[in-house]
């Protein structure tokens, strides 16, 4: 069964092109229309590479990319660059400390981006992801991804034991 609703245009090679311009923004061009856009993944964890919503400054969907292979090579490269920023999360490489305080849990970790300390609520548990791995959301809303917790060092695994199934 195929459901087709809504008005937003699905990208095809002919009608949508993407490019980075001097103003530092990703621009989407479709026929006569062009707008600076940001990329939103519809399924950031289930299918991160497909089903992408391109939204303008007013958060309106300007175009929808079902699959980047539908775009020309330049647009695809531009889109990939935008996706790297939009999909950025901290990649945890080791866990140094997990401490409980009155209402919060304090985490000290090493990430690919550098050392980081963050806090979560005591009842906010790491979330298991569809393709494995864990995702932790801190009090400010930043995300920390542990792609393969079982392959971390021994100390990290011991500290994480209570949080992993």
């Amino acid at each position: 069964m195929t459901l087709t609703f809504g008005k937003s245009a699905t990208a095809t090679r002919a009608e949508l092109t993407l490019e980075w311009r001097a103003d530092g923004s990703l621009w989407a061009v479709r026929g006569e229309e062009e707008r600076p856009v940001s990329v939103r993944r519809c399924f950031p964890w289930t299918e991160p590479a497909r089903h992408l919503s391109l939204r303008d400054a007013d958060e309106e969907e300007f175009a929808f990319v079902k699959d980047p292979v539908d775009l020309d090579a330049r647009s695809r490269a531009a889109l990939e660059r935008a996706l790297a920023v939009a999909g950025f999360v901290f990649e945890v490489t080791s866990v140094l400390e997990i401490e409980e305080e009155v209402e919060i849990r304090r985490w000290q970790v090493e990430t690919r981006q550098g050392p980081r300390t963050f806090q979560t609520r005591l009842d906010d548990w790491p979330r298991g992801l569809p393709h494995g791995g864990l995702l932790i959301r801190d009090l400010a809303g930043d995300l920390y991804h542990l792609s393969q917790p079982e392959h971390l060092d021994k100390q990290s695994r011991e500290l994480l034991w209570a949080f992993v199934d």
């Binding site: 001097a22 530092g24 009155v102 209402e103 919060i104 400010a140 809303g141 034991w161």
Partner: protein, 761 residues
């Protein structure tokens, strides 16, 4: 420096590894580049272009923006004028956000910075001020948006620390300080505490007597009598005296136990009561902003479960821990005195046992975290499916939900069984360890009892054995001491967190009481922002004379509810002033003033209790006849008398046994009886059907007569009778006039909204 600012600084220092403020030398350098103009606002861009953690700063001045990036030991500063800014864009990502400040079209961006969500609030402040400035320029006012009475350091610290402060409003201090403060609550009950501690000391000391007496009896009475060294008659006398002494010891011990248990339990209860009273009284005084930050469940737990846990600690924990230490010391001393060789066997391993119990506690807490996490998955299913049972049934998903629950239930059971496996192994092993000590004592004692080596009297050995049975209790208490104290200090923290929160709305030293309140309400250039920077109201001015009915209309989020919240003084204005009968609202006695205000809200809140109690909530002593008159005026009397228990009907929690329209009419009756001079109607008829709306409208017309009324309504037809209508959009009063006057404005917002609603009907 204010308490909140100190707390924010503590939070940043302790929890967030980033600078407490803009580095002083950089600030000086930026201000030098700006020829002395001050830095008004700043934010840390903590991601570089390749998304690695870095330190770059964006600073905002009255006429400039500067972006500073580290270049080795130096700062590379790029500054540009605010007037060259054409647009500001923010692209949010999962954890990386991009702020682009744009100049003329087709030119490179003036600035492009990336930052995590931790910095997002600080950047939103900058973005807001820049956009306001661009708006001012576009409107031709020429004025750059100023930040009302803020210092940049405070705004920055507040924006970074806020998420943590909202989750935990006290930075965990030293346990000893928290304990000292907690024990301070015992001060008023010094006499009971001294007696209770005295009784507990007596218990500990007299517990040491029976084993000693047993030894003395064997060595100095029984054995000499058996050996013929002591006349039987004298042996009988001494033995009976010893038995009587033992009986007295047990009597004294139990009497002391009675005194200790009773006094300490009652004392703990008094302290818990004092804490609950203080906490509840303080909660009642706190501003609305506090309640929007804290979850209701968390506050209820603090007043109930946390104070209960503190009772347990104060009643038993304090005494148990201190006396167990005394008991262990006493036992060790007695054993070493009785026989130092055997004494060493019993006392040397004690610290090891305490450590093992402590470690076990640590391990089991990990197991509990895991079980707690899985337990929350079970409760997630319950809290999803029970309120949503209609959806489950409509989509025929019962079996799937049963399986989902079963799976999680199985999972949590396995975790709890893991905990049981742990403690059921640990404790027998621990007791076995203590028994091993006892056996070792036997191994060393038997040869001596049989005459090989240093002589060991049988009585001394019996005393010794009896003392060894008393070891396990205090070892257990001391081993668990860390956990007991941890639990108590956690609860104390949660209670003190609320007690240390200052109400944001406070009365001045000698507040004014308006008697009577006439109901004139004046807004003079009122600005207001919930976070101090982003303004929800921007220079709103109006003057409402007593008895006017003002309709507040406009798009959602425009600031209508904020206006009525400010009139009720739930918050204080950030700029400008509100006057009631010409007196600044901040100079009024808030409690007295609020008694002159009535509110009928969209979702009327009824308390658990009878209809009568709910109508009389503002005036508990109002005569019954007046209650009926108020209910009649509110069109509520008819349905109330149809209820089985009439006005004495218990309406249940939040009044959910009544329909929405009925609850609304009870709340109108409550407002009528309260007889306020200023009345606030916030969407009072929006959630009811047409017939009920008609009845409520009639009731409201009776209610508003002779009062100053502010009515918020989305259905504009309900405000036709308003004396004046204020159209509020984006925090500004954009139109005002009567219904007819506003309809005459062909390009007016009110007319547009009105026509839109007509079309929808």
């Amino acid at each position: 420096m204010s308490t909140v600012q100190q707390l924010d600084d503590q939070i940043i220092t302790r929890y967030i590894a980033q600078p407490l403020r803009l580095p002083a030398e950089l600030r000086r350098e930026i201000e030098r580049v700006w020829q002395g103009a001050p830095v008004q606002l700043y934010a840390l861009a903590d991601l570089d272009q390749s998304l690695r953690l870095t330190e770059a700063w964006v600073a905002l001045g009255p006429r400039h923006v500067a972006v500073a990036r580290r270049s080795g030991e130096e700062w590379e500063i790029r500054s540009f004028e605010r007037r060259s800014i054409q647009a500001v864009r923010e692209a949010p990502g999962l954890s990386a956000n991009t702020l682009t400040i744009l100049g003329p079209p087709d030119e490179p961006a003036l600035a492009l910075v990336r930052y995590t969500h931790r910095q997002r609030r600080a950047f939103e402040n900058i973005r807001f001020v820049l956009e306001e400035g661009m708006g001012d320029a576009a409107r031709g006012t020429g004025a750059r948006h100023e930040i009302p009475g803020m210092d940049a350091d405070r705004v920055y610290a507040e924006s970074i620390a806020r998420p943590i402060r909202e989750a935990q409003a006290l930075v965990s201090g030293r346990q000893t300080a928290v304990l000292r403060r907690l024990i301070g609550y015992l001060k008023p009950y010094r006499r009971q505490l001294t007696l209770g501690m005295g009784a507990a000391t007596v218990i500990t000391l007299v517990s040491l007597i029976p084993p000693y007496l047993a030894g003395v009896l064997i060595d100095h009475v029984v054995r000499p009598a058996q050996a013929g060294a002591l006349p039987l008659e004298r042996a009988w006398t001494i033995a009976w005296i010893a038995v009587a002494a033992m009986a007295v010891v047990y009597l004294v011990k139990q009497a002391a136990a009675h005194i200790r248990l009773r006094l300490m339990a009652i004392l703990g209860e008094w302290v818990a009561r004092d804490l609950r009273d203080e906490l509840y009284e303080h909660i009642q005084r706190l501003s609305l902003a506090f309640f929007s930050r804290k979850r209701t469940g968390s506050l209820i737990t603090r007043v109930s479960a946390d104070t209960d846990r503190l009772w347990e600690f104060l009643a038993f924990g304090v005494v148990d821990v201190s006396l167990s230490l005394v008991q262990l010391l006493g036992l060790g001393t007695v054993l070493l005195t009785l026989d130092w060789r055997l004494g060493l066997i019993m006392t040397v391993p004690v610290p090891f046992f305490c450590w093992v119990i402590y470690r076990h506690g640590e391990n089991i807490s990990r197991l509990f975290i895991r079980a707690w996490r899985k337990w929350s998955r079970v409760t997630d299913v319950l809290s999803d499916t029970i309120p949503g049972i209609r959806v489950v049934k409509a989509f025929n998903q019962e079996q799937r939900e049963i399986e989902r629950f079963g799976e999680r239930n199985e999972d949590v059971t396995a975790e709890f069984n893991r905990i049981h496996a742990s403690w059921t192994t640990f404790w027998p092993l621990l007791v076995l360890g203590v028994h091993t000590m006892t056996v070792t004592v036997w191994v060393f004692a038997v040869p001596r009892l049989l005459g090989d080596g240093v002589a060991l009297p049988v009585g001394t050995f019996v005393s010794f054995l009896l003392y060894t049975t008393m070891f396990l209790g205090p070892i257990d208490v001391i081993g668990q001491m860390a956990r007991t104290i941890n639990r108590a200090t956690t609860s104390a923290h949660r209670v003190f967190e609320v007690l240390d929160t200052e109400p944001e709305v406070r009365d001045v030293a000698e507040p004014v009481r308006l008697e009577p309140v006439h109901g004139r309400v004046t807004f003079e250039h009122v600005t207001f922002g919930y976070d101090g920077v982003r303004q929800v109201l921007r220079g709103v001015s109006f003057d409402v004379t007593p008895g006017e009915l003002i309709g507040l209309v406009g798009p959602s989020g425009g600031g209508k509810t904020t206006i009525v919240n400010l009139i009720a003084r739930f918050y204080d204005v950030t700029g400008g002033a509100i006057r009631i009968d010409g007196v600044d609202i901040r100079r009024l006695d808030t409690g007295h003033f609020r008694r002159q205000i009535g509110m009928v809200l969209q979702d009327p809140y009824l308390f658990h209790g009878t209809v009568l109690e709910n109508i009389r909530y503002g005036l508990p002593d109002a005569p019954l006849a007046q209650v009926i008159v108020a209910a009649q005026a509110a069109n509520a009397h008819d349905f109330i008398t149809k209820l089985q228990h009439g006005y004495d009907t218990v309406v249940g929690e939040r009044g959910h046994t009544l329909s929405g329209g009925e609850r609304q009419r009870v709340s109108i009756a409550r407002a009528i009886l309260h007889n306020p001079r200023i009345l606030i109607l916030d969407e009072a008829t929006s959630s009811v059907d047409t017939e009920t709306e008609r009845e409520i409208q009639q009731a409201l017309e009776r209610l508003v007569a002779g009062r100053t009324v502010f009515a918020i309504a989305h259905r504009l037809s309900t405000l036709r009778k308003a004396s004046r209508l204020f159209v509020i959009e984006e925090g500004r009063l954009v139109e005002h006039g009567t219904h007819a006057e506003l309809l005459q404005r062909s390009e007016g917002m009110y007319r547009r909204l009105y026509e839109l609603q007509l079309q929808l009907q």
